[in-house]
Amino acid sequence: MKEIIPAEQARTRIARRIAREFMERDETLIINLGVGIPTMVANYIQGDSIFIQAENGMMGVGPKADGDSADRRLINAGREPVTETPGCSYFDSAASFGMIRGGHVDATVIGAFEVDEAGSIANWIIPNGRQLGVGGAMDLVSGARQVIVAMRHNGRDGRPKLVRSCSLPVTGFHEADLVVTELGVFRFIDGVMTLTEIAPETDPARLADLTDAAFVTSTGIRTMDT
């Protein structure tokens, strides 16, 4: 399958769109970013009212550390060296997941293998015998107030990642609030997967062909920023 949008452009578009989602909310936000595209969201956040929590025990994660300033004892949950921000704090893993499970983290941005029409998310394992790990995925999708999925619209093999019903082991049921792909923005409104923005490179009919899940197109649909 031919890619409609080149990979790096797709990833950037998704990250930037999610950053805008946060910046449009006129309030202090606490967010947790998974590895991959979710981490890139931080690059597009401006202002001083959005704080990044890392589940390995840090509030107020700063940009990645470059070679010289890297400290292997100051890392994010993806094992990448990071920096501090003013007003940051450190705590143990139980306190960290207490924040997450207790509903004190406003949003988590995660990648996923599949999201289905019911908002269920599969992102922790592909049972191929090579993976053996769940990390904080299940805690994050069940604990964060808003669950935002950042993922390419289709897998490397072209298969849709928005599916009728998850075929892979589920991380959390009915937990997705928003899915952003390079081709569209899907919100779960009253439990219904609803296309609210669409990339200029496609249209709802063509997008439906690239998507396994049935979705509703919002009457107020807008064009997605590229």
Binding site: M59, S89, Y90, F91, A94, G143
Partner: protein, 221 residues
Amino acid sequence: MPRKSKVVTMDQAVAAIRSGDRIMVGSFGNSGYPESLVEAMTASGLKDLTIISNDLGSPGIGLGKFLTNGQVRALIGNYYNWNPEVAQAYNAGQIDVTLVPQGSFAEAIRAAGVGIAAFYTPTAAGTELGKGKETREFNGRSYVLEQAIHADVALVKASKADELGNLVYYKTARNFNPLMAMAATLTIAEVDEVVPVGRLDPECVVTPHLFVNMIINRGAQ
């Protein structure tokens, strides 16, 4: 967006509280409680409050003011022997009182803060305070199921806040304050001093700022 300050006036803080609310108040025997907030609330017309706290101070002193002032509908806590007005009001049928052993009480408030619905503790198994609670054996020992204790509002006392709302406490005035800060829908922290962001040691912050919604700065008064 530019960050909004969490520092509010006492009027703004009290306006965020409603009659009938479940209100946690940090304290242990008149140590480490938000004095100005308690004072302002007793001057308010708020009533039918459920006060969730370790004890209720002394008659007319500290948290005792809520009861002396007739603002209490119910108490959830563990030690009211320092304030005989509590037993009197309870015996007269004026208020409800729920006693939870101090350790279970602390753990139940933490549980609410960290999203745990309930937990099994050996404390109170077989006793009067275990009555009506599910009991279960683990490794041959009896445990009681205690449920999380939530609140609408938490009034906590800290020593210092930074401008983000990170909190540190002072000695045994810490007590239940960091737990309650996590367990309520709205957390109002009364502090002796607000310091610039970056002034508190990140290793020593006890309550990270995400738990704090409003700050009353006594140092500014």
